[in-house]
């Protein structure tokens, strides 16, 4: 990928919603605003997601009979929501990023697939 293509590619992501995973397992979901050579990523209107705490998982697992616990349970699998909160405009430094995901709607996927051909 030459520099022009690289800029073009990153430019195409501006304004899209990214999920940026950090080294401490948190995930930041927000609108992509800016990046640089060090892969620092600026996200706007960001939500922070954190894995549920062990006690919440335990409660959900033992609370199988309790319908008010707010978690869906089937046999061994339990489902617990990640905790999230709004934190606004953030910059995630490149060295703390473990994974970047792009959120796509089915429409966007189809367009992308079509362009590939």
């Amino acid at each position: 990928m030459d520099e022009n293509k690289a800029v073009q590619y990153l430019d195409s992501l501006i304004g899209r919603t990214l999920r940026v995973h950090a080294t401490d397992t948190r995930i930041f979901v927000g609108t992509f605003k800016c990046t640089d050579a060090a892969r620092n990523v600026i996200l706007a209107s960001t939500y922070e997601y954190r894995l549920p705490s062990p006690s919440a998982v335990r409660d959900a697992a033992t609370g199988a009979e309790d319908p008010a616990a707010g978690s869906a349970v089937d046999a061994q699998n339990i489902k617990v929501n990640m905790t999230s909160r709004f934190i606004g405009l953030v910059v995630v430094p490149g060295q703390h990023i473990t994974k970047i995901e792009l959120e796509e709607t089915p429409q966007q996927i189809r367009t992308r697939e079509a362009l590939k051909k």
Partner: protein
């Protein structure tokens, strides 16, 4: 909560992204074209402990990121419950004082449990949420008493939050309304909260003998105060109808007990945690908890209750002049009433275009005009609804006056509301509105000219034969503008804006504005007197309405007289301080804030002080050279200046005594009982403080006189070394210090220097 459509699919683009980014040159950015670097500076840096509220330190266990070891279901001893209650009260008051919830109440693990996740019913808000029901009976101390207290406390905050947020306040300066995506139980009606409190109180009553009596009493007192406080806050602006101050009074009556039992509680500080900030929706970096001590919290709450009780004295309407006195006096209390009280007063002043819930804004403005410039005038009596012939001048007058009301009522009401801001903001706001009033005055002048022909106003003949007209509306606007001039200067003294070397000039300027104002009031009076004279002939002829007109005119004259006395008092005091400061400056004993090499100069300082007045057309700006001549009393000998100071201060003392004797309020009828005793007390104290400042000034003047005299004597003797410098020590007392008798009057403390003269 972020809204996401179910069909959104994430795709891993880590590799492409990383490769693409690595192709960028150092310093090259790919960014949204509307996204500026300036904005980027405001971004919170993730994984930076100072910026990222969700960051975990090296030693912190990931499993405990959001969790504290504190067990909310554990049984608490009665003195611990007391400790938690008092801890919460401290944080509640810290919030009232302007600190964010994230650093105060929202650090409580108990409150966090009640408020998050947002409860759907009030029953759902308890400390055992998310736990399995156990067979064990819930400890009543926590489940009943502490829960009731916590829920009611949050509901109290809800009422305060709602009131402040609807009014004009300064975010992060007066108050922080941010709720971090939580609610303060605003979704629930207040009734169940009282049930909970009452149940808690009766349970506590049953525990007599089972728990230590003084702790039991202390808990009971806190529940009781909480109930009354909640009732009082729920009442809010309903106070206009209910006129009830009962609840606040009950709170006040319990304070002694609250203070005495403060030491009984046992601190449970681990029930408060900063970790909760990791769960709050917050766009700011993590911040420490705000600790205030229990005595300060109590003092704040007590003042709030007392101010709320006295606030009722504002509600009875006795004309705009009296309303202004009550509002200004109440809101000038030191320390300034809390933001809740100030917001409540704003709503009381005007709500739905009605003053104090009773007087329509138009009537309010008309009352003001009648009080000052238009007693019993056709301009205020013409009513468009009664005269329907468009050619009738009264119809025309009514039309013009309606336009006037439309344009002027908002700025006029705002002169009342601005008193509810914090002190610095009052001054800033007035610095802006004064320019508006300058424009308003010009507009009013146009209206005056049109109305004059419609109402057939008879001119007044001047001594030189020229005819002149009253210009009532613009006169009134000018009066308000001059009031604002004075307020800007006096608040300048209060807020320590002026350096000591500026004091001679600023007190001169104050007296300059006062004498302009006095001249203006004289002009208004001349026309009112002329109208009164014409009315006397009507009275003699027993014309209809002449008697009522006479009463109205006399009332207006009395108000003008009262204003004259007040402004004379201010003027004389200002003249005297001006002269005193000139002497101190002349003999180089006045402290200066700027060093000798400073870039600032008198001329530059004058320029900056006059900035708010630059665009004002009337009164005209005094050119610097003229100002300098006047302010330094150039050409006057020390004796003349001393004479001036002495004369003025004795005149000031007389005028302030007369002001005090006149009382705070304009009586509407002769036998009227005073309806605002507490506020009148404050007003009197304020005038008495001013009189103390007068006495302080006389003493200072005497000291300077003696020193100058002995200086002159030693000059005559053969000691020329002493002749050049007077031997005085001058201290400018800080605002709020004891020697500063009044915020608006900076009286220097002058004393003979203890160190002997240079020998």
């Amino acid at each position: 909560m972020r809204v996401v459509s179910q069909s959104v699919v994430p795709r891993d683009i880590t590799d492409e992204f990383t490769v693409a980014a690595s192709r960028l040159k150092t310093g090259q950015l790919v960014k949204d074209e509307y996204f500026t670097l300036f904005e980027a500076v405001g971004a919170l840096e993730i994984m930076d402990s100072k910026m990222d509220s969700g960051y975990l330190g090296p030693g912190e266990n990931r499993a405990q990121a959001l969790e504290d070891d504190y067990d909310l279901t554990r049984e608490l001893a009665p003195d611990e419950v007391l400790g938690v209650m008092d801890g919460l009260l401290c944080y509640e008051m810290a919030w009232h004082m302007g600190h964010p919830l994230s650093q105060t109440l929202f650090t409580s693990l108990y409150l966090d449990k009640l408020l998050w996740p947002v409860p759907k019913t009030l029953d759902e808000a308890h400390f055992f949420r998310g736990r399995l029901a156990t067979n064990k009976e819930d400890p009543a101390m926590i489940h009943l008493v502490l829960r009731a207290y916590c829920l009611a406390l949050v509901k109290c905050c809800d009422f305060v939050h709602a009131r402040v947020a609807t009014e004009y306040y300064f975010e992060e300066e007066d108050f922080v309304t941010q709720l971090y995506n939580r609610t303060l139980l605003s979704q629930f009606e207040p009734e169940p909260f009282y049930d909970l409190l009452n149940r808690a109180i009766s349970w506590i009553d049953e525990q007599k003998g089972k728990i230590e009596e003084n702790v039991r009493e202390a808990i009971r007192t806190r529940l009781l105060i909480r109930r009354e406080f909640l009732l009082a806050l729920e009442q809010d602006i309903e106070v206009i109808e209910t006129r009830s101050r009962e609840h606040f009074l009950v709170c006040l009556s319990q304070f002694d007990h609250l203070t005495k039992s403060a030491s009984l509680g046992k601190d449970v500080s681990d029930s408060f945690s900063l970790k909760i900030q990791r769960k709050l929706a917050s766009t700011v970096p993590p911040r420490p908890m705000v600790k205030i001590n229990f005595d300060d919290a109590l003092a704040h709450l007590k003042r709030l209750c007392q101010d709320a009780v006295d606030l009722q004295e504002i509600i009875d309407y006795h004309g705009p002049y009296n309303l202004k006195v009550t509002i200004w006096t109440l809101l000038s209390r030191k320390p300034q009433p809390s933001v809740y009280i100030r917001s409540l007063v704003q709503t009381l002043i005007v709500n739905n275009m009605t003053i104090l819930g009773a007087v329509p804004v138009k009537q309010f403005l008309y009352d003001e005009l009648a009080e000052l410039v238009l007693p019993s005038s056709i301009l205020l009596q013409a009513n468009i609804d009664e005269i329907e012939v468009p050619s009738d001048p009264r119809f025309q007058i009514a039309k013009q006056m309606d336009a006037f009301v439309k344009r002027f009522s908002q700025p006029f009401v705002d002169t009342f509301r601005s008193a509810c801001l914090n002190r610095c903001r009052i001054r800033r706001t007035v610095c802006h509105t004064i320019a508006d009033w300058d424009n308003l005055q010009m507009e009013a002048e146009d209206l005056d000219e049109q109305l004059r022909t419609l109402s057939n106003e008879p001119p007044l003949m001047l001594a030189n034969g020229d005819a002149t007209y009253s210009y009532p509306l613009s006169s009134w606007a000018y009066h308000h503008k001059l009031n604002q001039f004075r307020l800007i200067l006096q608040l300048g003294f209060e807020l320590s804006i002026y350096a000591p070397e500026e004091l001679p000039g600023m007190y001169w300027y104050l007296s300059h504005i006062c004498s302009t104002h006095l001249g203006h009031i004289d002009r208004v009076r001349t026309f009112t007197v002329a109208t009164a004279k014409r009315n006397l002939t009507d009275m003699a002829a027993k014309k209809r309405g002449a008697l009522e007109r006479h009463a109205a005119l006399q009332k207006s004259l009395r108000l003008l007289e009262r204003l004259t006395t007040q402004i004379v008092a201010i003027d004389a005091f200002a003249i005297s301080l001006h002269a005193l400061y000139v002497l101190l400056a002349r003999h180089h004993v006045l402290p200066t804030a700027s060093s000798a090499q400073a870039y600032s100069s008198d001329r530059l300082r004058y320029e900056i002080r006059m900035k708010p007045f630059l665009q004002i057309t009337l009164p005209e700006l005094v050119p610097y050279d003229e100002y300098h001549r006047e302010a330094m009393l150039e050409g006057d000998s020390d004796e003349t200046v001393l004479e001036r100071a002495t004369k003025a201060i004795s005149e000031a003392r007389k005028a302030w005594e007369a002001t005090l004797a006149n009382g705070a309020f304009m009586p509407e009828f002769d036998d009227e009982a005073n309806t605002a005793p507490a506020i009148e007390e404050d007003w009197k104290r304020d005038v008495k403080d001013t009189m103390r400042a007068c006495i302080g000034a006389s003493i200072a003047i005497e000291t300077v006189k003696k020193s100058l005299k002995s200086n002159a004597n030693s000059a005559q003797s053969k000691d020329p070394a002493n002749a050049s410098s007077v031997n005085l020590r001058v201290i400018i007392p800080e605002a709020g210090s004891k020697a500063r008798w009044h915020d608006w009057w900076i009286v220097p403390q002058v004393s003979q220097a203890t160190v002997g003269p240079k020998t």
